[in-house]
């Protein structure tokens, strides 16, 4: 059984009087421990798919199963708890909380767990160590470079050891060198730590780092 199973998903938006069809009948499997790049032009539905997987949005019909749990059927509060446990999410614009330090930002997801202060401390240090920022614990986001901010965001996404890590254009706002660092990091997370990763990107070079590339065009998947 695949880790992620998307079956016959139909998704449409109502915008004013117009109905926009994003997916009419989408079916997709993502295997455990894989690194999938999802490519496609703007408006192809990449981000919508990511939102559906994270349970941030619901399909109009069809089912989405992640690690055996049917995401589309959960109540909002069950969904929040499920997200905390199973999903790590990285945004294009990092979205760190400016009032918290790197350490506190990474610690955020752990505040929702029953871990003790000491255990949390340990995990945060490990996560920041993995992304190579073990020496930036007390820095605030505005004191970090874009590449560093994005790596903090990745640490925040993996700190609770989620089942699935989702990234939405993680290198979209980075210069070439920083982007390279982030991509290498993602590759390492996949090969060394066996994290399952789905990354949305429109950068062909970035997609090359993945073990599997999918193309999404007008709501239809092609390998």
């Amino acid at each position: 059984m695949a880790l992620v199973e998307i079956r016959n998903v139909h998704k449409s938006f109502q915008r004013d009087t117009q109905v926009i069809e994003v997916f009419e009948n989408l079916t997709l499997d993502v295997q455990d421990k894989s690194f999938t790049a999802l490519m496609g032009p703007s408006g192809s539905g990449k981000s919508t798919l990511l939102n559906l997987l994270a349970g941030l949005d619901r399909p109009t019909s069809g089912t989405i199963t992640v690690a055996g749990a049917q995401v589309n059927a959960m109540t909002p509060s069950a969904l929040a708890a499920w997200r905390a446990r199973h999903i790590g999410f990285v945004f294009q614009s990092y979205n760190l909380l400016p009032v918290l330090t790197a350490f506190q930002n990474v610690e955020l997801p752990l505040l929702l767990t029953r871990l003790s202060k000491k255990e949390r401390d340990e995990r945060v240090r490990i996560a920041l160590g993995v992304v190579g920022l073990g020496d930036r614990l007390e820095h605030y986001p505005r004191q970090l470079s874009g590449g560093q901010e994005q790596r903090v965001a990745i640490a925040r996404a993996i700190v609770s050891d989620p089942t699935l890590t989702l990234l939405d254009e993680p290198t979209g706002q980075l210069d070439k060198r920083s982007a390279e660092e982030v991509l290498t990091l993602l590759q390492r997370l996949n090969t060394e730590l066996h994290k399952t990763i789905i990354m949305v990107t429109h950068d062909a070079h970035a997609a090359e780092k993945a073990s599997q590339v999918l193309h999404l065009e007008k709501g239809v998947l092609a390998p």
Partner: protein, 380 residues
């Protein structure tokens, strides 16, 4: 609580805004406590009265004196243990700017009737021994800068002429709410210096038992109903309360202003909370993506509002309590024993709590109900 650092970090985001909002709440609760204390102090003034004392006045009005002969007749009323009397002198001291109450009293019986007027034994003896001696409250002594043995001249308005008294005794009230700015002197001196015969302005009775008050009142008022000076007898508390109501509807005035103050600050606080919440829409969406539940986010905003208003309330209410106690404020002599009571403090904190709920509710609900997808689209 795990999330407290997050709340604190959020409050530090706009330090000035947080500070101003806290100070706003502090000002509001300070004013609230001050206004309410005016009411509680006025009421406490009538509480100071003893339940077993009654006051007999002329039925027509306080300004009409009662015959001296009533003294013996009142003594014979069943339940009455002691009788004393006093007169309102109503004089003016200096240019009239220092206002204080002056009474002519029958010294021995009056001081026996009022044990809460505490006078050192030697001064008491000196006061009793001299016709023109005066007994002055400690507060008035300090305010006027007088000292024992000093001569004080008061210009009579009801009893014409210049009256000179020698201060022979100073009293200290043993209860806070008793006025410590009164000026008392011997009734005999008033009588002696006035051309026509002076008679008592009111009588004070000591009852054997407070429960007898209604019967005693009825007996006395019946007895004198058809005489030339009919009486009105009531408990000392009712007598004092009569003076409180003379100010007009102080309670209503103070409460109305208090409400306006609280609402004005509600506007300021709620506005600050809303602005803060609006600026953070994107962050709320991020927290939700991480897995924070709607309820937790609701709680975070409410906790922030609560922390702001409670800090303000501690400053405002604590400030009021300390300031008034520290400066021994007494409303320029009009509010002896001015005090911020525990009840006022409790209500003040209740108001702060309501303020927190009222100002935090809308932004907290908005945060809880925020749609992640829409908010993120806004951010990205």
């Amino acid at each position: 609580m795990n999330l407290l650092p997050l709340v604190l970090a959020n409050l530090r985001r706009h330090r000035l805004r947080t500070l101003l909002t806290v100070l706003g709440v502090a000002l509001a609760t300070f004013l609230f406590a001050s206004l309410r204390s005016v009411v509680t102090t006025l009421n406490a003034g009538s509480e100071v009265a003893s339940a077993s004392r009654m006051v007999v006045t002329h039925a027509t009005a306080l300004v009409f004196p009662l015959p001296m002969s009533y003294r013996e007749r009142l003594k014979t009323v069943p339940g009455v243990e002691a009788v004393t009397w006093a007169n309102w002198f109503g004089g003016q001291y200096g240019d009239g700017k220092l206002f204080f109450a002056q009474f002519a009293i029958d010294p021995e019986s009056y001081l026996a009737m009022y044990p809460e007027i505490s006078v050192p034994a030697d001064q008491r003896a000196a006061f009793l021994a001299e016709r023109s001696a005066a007994l002055v409250g400690k507060g008035l002594m300090e305010k006027a800068g007088w000292h024992l043995g000093q001569n004080v001249t008061i210009r009579g308005t009801i009893f014409p002429g210049d009256w000179t008294f020698t201060i022979r005794a100073v009293y200290t009230p043993t209860v806070r709410a008793l006025d410590d700015r009164s000026f008392m002197f011997q009734y005999a001196y008033l009588d002696e210096r006035t051309e026509h015969r002076v008679t008592p302005g009111w009588y004070v009775l000591q009852l054997r038992d407070a429960g007898l008050a209604p019967t005693v009142a009825q007996t006395i008022d019946e007895t004198f109903r058809n005489s030339s000076a009919p009486t009105k007898t009531g408990t000392e508390k009712a007598f004092n309360q009569g003076f409180v109501t003379m100010w007009g509807n102080v309670q209503f005035l103070m409460n109305s202003i208090g409400m306006a103050v609280v609402f004005a600050i509600l506007m300021v606080t709620a506005n600050a909370m809303m602005m803060t919440a609006r600026e953070r829409t994107g962050e709320v969406a991020v927290l939700k993506t991480i897995g924070f539940t709607d309820r937790t986010l609701f709680g975070l905003v409410m906790a922030e509002a609560g922390l702001v208003t409670l800090t303000g309330a501690v400053l405002g209410l604590g400030g009021a309590k300390l300031l008034y106690a520290g400066t021994a404020f007494n409303g320029f002599g009009m509010l002896p024993g001015f005090d911020v009571t525990a009840g006022t403090l409790a209500i003040g904190f209740g108001v702060a709590l309501l303020l927190a709920v009222a100002s935090g509710l809308v932004p907290a609900l908005r945060a809880a109900r925020l749609s992640i997808v829409q908010a993120l689209r806004h951010v990205e």
